[in-house]
């Protein structure tokens, strides 16, 4: 784009209404340790806008009943609201059909579902599952369990010192034995955005499927599962400003249709006799038992909220915060950034020489600043960078430049305290 075109585009886009956004999140107005709350633990979980609270309150206050089986008015209203939420998920992912959207407890359950249902049927002795070194434990352990059970082999594509997956290594590890590539869209510990589309192309060339762990991508990037060429995509409600205990798995229709149930119970059957039970088609086949009704409705409200703000606008704002934070943190003596990928979401992991991340976390908390300290459920990443843990500041759509400055100032003070 020419500079003139960029300028035109910028002036055409409405300014990001940060103040209005912050007003949508009542929790942000509080003080912690007598200081204004600075919430920078968004990669762990995000705060909730009024729209989500209102949607849940309306469900409980106005039309709550069990879903699917009831003929009465409230049951029909609850069922319809939950199915609208499923449609909101479909739009959010640009999936072809809402029948391809399975409600689950979260990303972890989605991955376990695919491992248990698709995996047990399609992965055998000598087959391979390929993951990357930057995966969250939830995209490692289900595959380890599956491989152990089926006599399959788990392969790991390594990362480089920027925290990027080494693409040549990943391609080298693909073979006709590879049944599935399970990869994070965005790394929770490093912020790295993986080139999922390219990875999917390579995987498909050898006949492997691709599961994308979208837990960290969903709050930051516009997602189009069709353009990505993914076969499964999973994300969690609580990381996209929605409720905890709810998430979604998208799977291509023919894959889901061929997959056996993974949990038995009510709601997932067509007919039950002691001789033979037949199963409902997807998505209900994978939703045994009474689901998290109000949470699904809350998730739908969160996605609508996010879509109304516009993910490109959110991403642009977060990129600004990331750039500022990267600059300010680099000026803190002894600070080492862990994860310097060229394509990064608004997540900054770092270590401070001579100060353990937990001490950093405690010092920041005393200033009202919430960050995460630890291994971030990504111990292989910690091992790669030879650190026991990092401090992680992760930004969301409501964070401000002033909060970035507060973080940097507090880190300078931590430096002074510990000498």
């Amino acid at each position: 784009m020419t500079p003139a075109a960029i300028q035109e585009r910028q002036s055409a886009a409405p300014a990001y209404d940060l103040e209005g956004v912050r007003a949508d999140f009542p929790i942000l107005a509080q003080k912690v340790q007598s200081r204004p709350l600075v919430y920078l633990d968004n990669a762990a979980s995000t705060q909730k806008p009024r729209a989500v609270m209102d949607a849940i309150a309306a469900c409980y206050g106005e039309y709550y009943a069990n879903v699917e089986r009831g003929v009465h008015t409230l049951s029909q209203a609850s069922t319809a609201a939950r199915e609208q939420a499923r449609e909101a998920v479909r739009r959010f992912l640009n999936a072809p059909s809402a029948e391809e959207i399975v409600f689950v407890r979260g990303t972890t359950e989605a991955i376990n579902l695919v491992a248990a249902s698709w995996g047990r049927r399609n992965v055998g002795s000598g087959d391979e599952i390929l993951v990357t070194e930057l995966e969250h434990h939830s995209n490692i352990v289900p595959w380890q369990l599956l491989c152990e059970e089926r006599g399959a082999v788990l392969r790991v594509a390594p990362i480089d010192d920027r925290g990027e997956v080494i693409q040549e290594e990943l391609e080298r590890l693909l073979s006709p034995r590879t049944r599935l590539v399970a990869v994070a869209h965005v790394s929770n510990a490093l912020g790295t955005v993986n080139p999922v589309r390219e990875i999917a192309q390579h995987a498909h060339r050898v006949g492997a499927l691709v599961l994308v762990d979208g837990a960290q991508a969903a709050p930051h990037l516009a997602i189009d599962v069709q353009a990505l060429g993914a076969d499964f995509y999973a994300f969690s409600g609580h990381k996209v400003y929605g409720p905890s205990g709810i998430g979604a798995l998208w799977g291509r229709r023919e894959l889901l249709a061929a997959m056996p149930p993974w949990q038995g119970g009510g709601g997932m059957i067509r007919t039950v006799t002691f001789a033979k039970t037949t199963y409902a088609p997807p998505p209900h086949r994978f939703e045994a038992g009474t689901p998290a009704i109000e949470a699904a409705i809350g998730l739908g409200a969160a996605l609508e909220y996010l879509t109304a703000l516009g993910l490109p606008a959110v991403a642009a704002w977060e990129a600004e915060l990331l750039a500022l934070a990267t600059e300010r943190l680099a000026a803190v003596p002894g600070l080492r950034l862990i994860g310097t990928a060229r394509d990064k979401a608004a997540v900054i992991s770092f270590t401070l020489a001579g100060i353990h991340p937990h001490d950093v976390g405690t010092v920041l908390d005393q200033e009202g600043i919430a960050v995460r300290a630890g291994h971030h459920c990504a111990q292989p990443v910690m091992e790669h960078f030879r650190v026991p843990a990092t401090t992680r500041a992760s930004f969301g759509l409501y964070n401000t430049r002033e909060e970035v400055e507060a973080l940097a100032a507090a880190l300078h003070r931590a430096r002074e305290l510990f000498g």
């Binding site: 937990h358 001490d359 843990a389 510990f418 000498g419």
Partner: protein, 149 residues
């Protein structure tokens, strides 16, 4: 910052920067490893025990300032003490951090600097990890990891 200075007293910062009795102990006949999987703190406690007396003690590991200083000050407090005294001190120290009891107990000595940790419940386990590891080391000669989570 005042509350922080309650937690991070100068003695704690000093022992974190310059841990005492840190390193291997070739003469050790008891040892145990402790870890806190939640935060990644890892500590090994090595003991040379003879006739019910801790003749020498050392520790190794990585962790936050509270756990490192706690381990360092523990080794200072216990060198030359009897095993029985060590066990008693464990309980006095544990009570100090969990209930605040015995805050002025004379046997605490320098360990009283950990009084402020009680105000930070998430950090109590950092301070007690070396002591739990000590107890494990006293009852076992081989490695059996302990964990405070």
């Amino acid at each position: 910052m005042n509350d922080l200075r309650e937690l991070y007293q100068d003695i704690i910062l000093d022992h974190n920067r310059h841990p005492r009795n840190f390193g291997p102990l070739p003469a050790s006949n008891h040892q145990a490893e402790g870890n806190n999987p939640l935060c990644g703190d890892q500590v090994s406690v090595l003991l040379d025990v003879a006739d019910g007396c801790i003749r020498d003690i050392a520790f190794q590991g990585v962790g936050c300032a509270i756990s490192m200083a706690s381990a360092s000050l523990m080794t200072e407090a216990l060198k030359g003490q009897t095993v029985e005294e060590a066990r008693r001190l464990f309980h006095v120290f544990h009570d100090l951090l969990t209930t605040g009891a015995g805050e002025s107990a004379p046997e605490l000595g320098k360990l009283a600097v950990f009084t402020g940790v009680r105000e930070f419940p998430m950090r109590v386990k950092c301070a007690t990890l070396p002591w739990h590891t000590l107890l494990a080391a006293l009852v076992q000669k081989q490695d059996q990891p302990v964990s405070t989570e």
